[in-house]
């Protein structure tokens, strides 16, 4: 390679940070392998037909215990299911519903006292209590708990209706397995967006704070090194690393889950680069002052954690209260994830994403310039 290029400080700085990065085995694992493992785990968990187990406690009235579940036995058997006693020292009964479209669900019924049932509820072992009263069943649960609500709806359907839910699902349910409509199609762009944020925030911010703590920043700035070369090199290496991470995650998802990019790849590239600009700027701003790695940890977490929770990476943010949605949509990670998802699964192109790309780039530039103004080199 041309000697003038290889001896240029920008080349040397970029090369030094690149070598520093790839020589750390942890970086390869946490940057590349871990997101793939997460995609694999979540992809399998949410795309395969699940074998669900729902456990409920059964009481026979206040302060008393139902013996052998006489009422439930009658109801369950009448509706065509087999309620059988499970092996083990504790008395437990179970029955299952199995269907090739929605998988197998096993209901475990534990006869117990009200006191024990409440303890199980507090520990999270169950989220619904059945009470046998005369020939009927009463349901005790927290209506604001979605899981408890779901179990209630399922069980009440089985126990009250005269026909089996098994037959009903066979008639009415049509599983969605078309590419773009599955959970994994929603997840992968979100994981890529989160990867960009995490990589920039930890790679750039922590890298700068660490160099400041070690007084390396101070030593480097005491030479004729150009300050902007130092930062450009850091951002360039991170951009390259993020591209490799995202590409490997995509290739994995393509091979394993057959996901595809339904929109414009050039628009996706623009969203990807603007996301990097945005989070690089935020990273420079976050690390502009502190020389303490513990304070740095706190600052970085304060930036990334709210976005990881709110930005709908794993589950849609539309489940949050309506008033919060417009705020969440303005978070940089939400913008990036929404932009990438719209291209991946909705087939969007430049017209739909140009606003997101421009806004994220502007956010990055504003944070970068502000950070640079207050940057502590010494």
């Amino acid at each position: 390679m041309n000697n003038r290029i290889t001896s240029h400080q920008l080349f040397r700085l970029t090369s030094a940070y690149f070598l520093e990065l790839i020589r750390e085995p942890g970086v390869i694992f946490w940057g590349i392998v871990f997101p793939i493992l997460m995609a694999l785990g979540l992809g399998i968990a949410f795309t395969k037909k699940p074998d669900m187990t729902r456990t409920v406690a059964v009481i026979g009235g206040v302060e008393s215990q139902t013996q052998h579940l006489p009422v439930l036995h009658g109801i369950v058997n009448r509706n065509g299911f087999q309620l059988s006693r499970m092996d083990g020292p504790t008395e437990k009964y179970s029955f299952s519903i199995e269907n090739e479209k929605i998988g197998k669900t096993t209901y475990i019924l534990i006869p117990t006292t009200l006191e024990n049932a409440l303890q199980l509820l507090k520990r999270g072992n169950i989220n619904l209590i059945l009470e046998e009263v005369d020939e009927d069943i009463i349901y005790h649960f927290d209506p604001s708990n979605p899981e408890a609500q779901l179990v209630y709806l399922q069980l009440s359907k089985i126990l009250k209706s005269g026909f089996s839910i098994n037959e009903q699902v066979a008639e009415n349910i049509e599983p969605m397995t078309v590419t773009g409509t599955r959970y994994i199609d929603f997840l992968i762009p979100g994981l890529m967006a989160m990867g960009i944020m995490m990589s920039c925030m930890w790679g750039i911010s922590y890298g700068i704070i660490d160099k400041r703590t070690k007084k390396l920043l101070r030593r480097m700035i005491a030479t004729p090194m150009k300050k902007h070369h130092f930062l450009i090199a850091l951002i360039t290496v991170r951009l390259g690393m993020n591209f490799v991470e995202a590409a490997l995650l995509f290739i994995f998802a393509l091979l394993f889950f057959h996901i595809s990019i339904q929109g414009d790849v050039s628009a996706l590239t623009a969203v990807f680069i603007s996301g990097n600009i945005c989070f690089s700027g935020i990273a420079i701003f976050t690390s502009s002052r502190t020389a303490n790695t513990e304070v740095g940890n706190g600052l970085i977490n304060a930036v990334v954690l709210p976005m990881v929770v709110l930005s709908g990476i794993f589950f849609s943010y539309h489940n949050f209260p309506n008033w919060s949605i417009p705020v969440i949509q303005k978070l940089p990670l939400t913008m990036l994830a929404d932009g990438m998802r719209s291209i991946f699964i909705e087939g969007a192109g430049w017209p739909e994403t140009v606003f997101i790309s421009t806004t994220m780039s502007l956010i990055g530039v504003v944070f970068f310039s502000t950070g640079l103004k207050i940057f502590r080199w010494y």
Binding site: S7, H8, Q9, F11, R12, L13, S15, A16, L19, E20, R23, E24, K214, K215, L216, R218, R219, M220, A222, T223, P224, M225, Y378
Partner: protein, 317 residues
């Protein structure tokens, strides 16, 4: 205001003050260094040495006073001054997973230096066998030699070294000293070296500045400083038995003497003029009081003795 001063001094520090909250780190220091002069800033930890050097390096800004490097102040002349200064900070840690030669190449690129300069530095610092070793695998002495090599990369006219041998074993320390002694022979570089090792200052430097609590308390050549404390010798002695309180007081009135904490020995200071007379009186005193003399050693006064007499503190405190 960007001032340019026309003077013979390579470094000219004028009435510089620097405080951190309530601590006055540097308290009205004046300091002038000429070309090729090797100067030691000698003082204990917390004396203000590092703050003073960091202000000369342009890393810290004085609260008041002026600093001129070759007649120029830092503001507006950063690029030019960085080209002529080499420095080594206390506790710099370079990138762990870069090799010695990669680190030197990185710093060479800042000065636009050819590859051959890197080779010269590797040879000068004796790191030939370590050129492919990661920084994290170097010993303390090797890291310090590398830091010194990086400071010398640009053939600096001014070299500022902040405690370059602190924490090193005697062998590693002498390796660093050898590099600096070679540099001193050429008389092209002016050095300011901070240290709390008096031997380092004595061995390496032409001019020594004793600093404490942000003040310069004495300065001069080694001979000037020692002469200033009077033409004296120190005689360290130990006794077989502890003298009585009356004998202790009597000895203190008759002789220039400081007892050790356990009172079974001490240091006797005698003037070079008529030493045999002073010694004879001291031996008579011991004989009359039947204070059994166990050991007796005569040595020249040191910078540490001088510092102790001026401040009541040891240099290595």
């Amino acid at each position: 205001m960007n001032q340019i001063l026309d003077s013979d001094f390579v470094i000219d520090v004028q009435k510089v003050y620097k405080s951190f909250k309530s601590v006055k780190a540097v308290n009205g220091v004046d300091l002038q260094i000429t070309k090729g002069q090797f100067t030691a800033l000698l003082g204990p930890n917390g004396a203000g040495k590092t703050t003073l050097v960091e202000m000369i390096e342009g890393i810290q800004i004085p609260d008041s006073g002026s600093i001129f490097i070759k007649g120029k102040q830092w503001r507006g002349n950063e690029e030019e001054l960085h080209q002529i200064i080499g420095l080594s900070l206390q506790e710099t840690r370079f990138i762990d997973k870069l090799t010695v030669s990669e680190t030197l190449k990185l710093f060479s690129s800042f000065y636009k230096l050819p590859q051959s300069r890197m080779e010269e530095i590797i040879e000068l610092t004796g790191l030939e066998e370590k050129r492919k070793s990661y920084i994290v695998n170097l010993s303390g002495g090797q890291r310090q030699r590398l830091a010194l090599g990086i400071a010398l990369l640009n053939k600096p006219e001014i070299l500022l070294l902040d405690e370059p041998t602190t924490g090193l074993d005697p062998t590693a320390r002498s390796e660093v000293w050898n590099i600096l002694l070679k540099l001193r022979e050429r008389r092209q570089t002016s050095l300011i070296l901070t240290t709390h090792y008096m031997e380092e200052a004595e061995q390496l430097c032409d001019y020594i500045i004793l600093i404490d609590h942000g003040h310069i308390i004495r300065e001069g050549t080694l001979q000037q400083l020692l002469r200033e404390n009077g033409p004296t010798k120190n005689i360290e002695f130990t006794l077989g038995n502890v003298p009585s309180e009356a004998d202790l007081q009597l000895a203190e009135t008759q002789f220039n003497l400081k007892w050790e904490p356990g009172r079974s020995g001490g240091v006797l200071q005698i003037e070079n003029k008529n030493p045999e007379e002073h010694l004879a009186q001291f031996f008579d005193f011991l004989k009359q009081r039947k204070l059994n003399l166990q050991s007796f050693e005569c040595r020249k006064i040191t910078l540490n003795d001088l510092f102790l007499s001026l401040t009541g503190r040891q240099l290595h405190e």
